[in-house]
């Protein structure tokens, strides 16, 4: 593990952290016209993101042990970006359908939030446990590696939340914001795939 590679993975962690919260903020704008801006809508959104993190951390951790290669993580992250890119064209029909069939209650809001975000956000949150596995040279430094990964992605979360709310939303529509983050996520995934080949050449 070169120092360069180490830094690159943490930088990607930061960018994915930005994207995760950016997607959540943009999703809130997608849901509000359908389910109102009541406190329940925010609760549904936050719960859905937490559900994704739960699933992503758990599954991502297991996949990381099974295949500890940044290429595998990269493919998952590219898939997350690709799925999010489907959101802008699909959001309106999915939300209309939810409203027609399930109504506008908390259950419907939860379903709609999950339909939009659950799978891509789960794939996205593979990153943290995976990065720990990739960056871990020996158990002696496990604590600081995990700490670095969680703090850098959380800094990204903060930047993503504030940056989306205070800047992007004043310049772009929520569908464009979603597309921007989908592209950013896919680029990060490609970066992770490229990293792996880099490491391989060096190892070889």
């Amino acid at each position: 593990m070169t120092h360069w590679r180490h830094t690159a993975i943490l930088c990607i962690g930061f960018l994915l952290g930005v994207a995760l919260m950016g997607v959540q903020m943009a999703s809130s704008r997608l849901l509000t016209p359908y389910f109102g801006s009541g406190i329940e809508v925010w609760a549904s959104l936050i719960s859905t993101v937490m559900l994704s993190l739960m699933a992503g951390y758990y599954i991502g951790g297991r996949v990381a042990d099974f295949a500890p290669r940044s290429q595998v993580l990269g493919v998952c992250v590219v898939a997350a970006g690709a799925l999010l890119a489907l959101t802008p064209p699909l959001a309106t029909p999915v939300l209309d359908w939810t409203l027609e069939t399930m109504g506008d209650g908390v259950g419907a809001a939860l379903f709609a939030a999950a339909a939009i975000m659950f799978v891509p956000m789960t794939l996205l949150s593979f990153f943290s446990p995976y990065a720990v596995r990739l960056l871990l040279a020996d158990a002696q430094h496990g604590g600081r590696v995990a700490g670095a990964v969680y703090s850098i992605t959380t800094i990204g979360n903060i930047v993503g939340t504030l940056g989306t709310a205070l800047y992007l939303m004043t310049k772009l529509g929520s569908r464009d914001i979603m597309m921007t983050f989908a592209a950013l996520i896919a680029a990060c995934g490609v970066g992770l795939i490229a990293l792996r080949s880099e490491g391989q050449t060096r190892a070889a």
């Binding site: 704008r29 016209p33 801006s37 409203l99 709310a165 004043t170 529509g173």
Partner: protein, 301 residues
């Protein structure tokens, strides 16, 4: 939350409330304080009036002012001008009000026109409870109060209303989904033929221009009325309603219902919006926060 005056805030010092223009001289006592999921709500006795106020950042925003000795008195100019919308109606079979607040407009209309069904929609359950307890707004025949998000209520509604009042403020601001083109399209589908939409708008920021432009993008005609610190916008479809037509309708309604605040004189303040230069807000792109942060420099439209 829904319902209210985006009356310029009055600073709240630690020592207590500074008075607002209408009540600066009066003794103020907080008689109820509630925390709802959306607001901190105060019911304040100001001399002989009762005020509904929302607290945000130690600033107090007046939502409603009520004179228990005379429930037919509308103390805020904008609430009086809201009733000018009645002159725009071809018939009066049903009225809807999005944003109850202290229920001033709804109660005023109900007291004068007990035969006309009025449907109020209010998101905040605490606001509904306080309106009933302190502002004399009790649900009865032809006065229905529903707890719901205004937009969702209108999308699910099947009936049409001759007049839809929109006065939905969450403390200091209007939620973005009640300001977009798609929202007004939903409203438009619930307006009976020959009916109108009446909206209370705070006019000091760029959001005002956007709100007028968005209304104008959805409805054929938009008129505005300056009402002290607020602007009341009235939007309708179909042929232009001339001043003489409005006056005739106002006179007919006056003789039928004997309003405490006659509508005809209000019509003098009418200004027709010919073109709107603000940004049309959509569900996808409604930067309401940044528009609200910008002061309007070109006052007096």
């Amino acid at each position: 939350m829904h319902g209210g005056v985006p009356r310029r805030a009055v600073a709240l010092g630690l020592a207590g409330w500074a008075g607002c223009a209408l009540a600066a001289h009066a003794q103020e006592t907080v008689i109820a304080q509630r925390e709802s999921p959306y607001n901190t709500i105060y019911v304040v006795r100001e001399g002989r009036y009762i005020a509904l106020q929302f607290g945000v950042n130690r600033r107090i925003f007046h939502q409603s002012l009520y004179n228990p000795e005379n429930p037919r008195e509308l103390l805020f100019a904008y609430t009086r001008y809201m009733t000018a919308g009645l002159a725009y109606t071809a018939s009066l079979n049903a009225i809807c009000e999005i944003g109850l607040g202290g229920g001033r407009t709804a109660q005023y209309l109900h007291l004068h026109m007990p035969g006309v069904p009025i449907q109020c929609v209010e998101l905040d359950p605490e606001v509904i409870a306080l309106a009933q307890q302190y502002f004399g707004v009790t649900p009865e025949r032809n006065l229905t109060i529903t707890q719901a998000d205004g937009r969702i209520f209108l999308r699910r509604a099947r009936e049409r209303f001759d007049l839809i009042f929109i006065d939905a403020y969450r403390g200091t601001f209007v939620p973005f989904h009640l300001l977009t083109r798609e929202f007004f399209q939903t409203v438009k589908r619930r307006v009976a033929p020959g009916g109108a939409v009446v909206q209370n708008i705070e006019p000091t920021t760029m959001l005002y221009d956007a709100a007028i432009a968005t209304l104008k993008a959805v409805f054929d005609h938009v008129d505005i009325y300056q009402a002290d610190g607020n602007v009341v916008a009235i939007a309708y479809d179909g042929p232009v309603k001339g001043q003489r037509q409005l006056r005739a309708r106002a006179a007919a309604l006056q003789s039928q219902y004997n309003f405490r605040h006659p509508i005809a004189p209000m019509l003098d303040a009418r200004r027709v919006v010919s073109s709107a230069r603000g940004q049309v807000l959509t569900d996808d792109f409604a930067p309401v926060e940044s528009l609200r942060a910008m002061e309007r420099h070109n006052q007096r439209q």
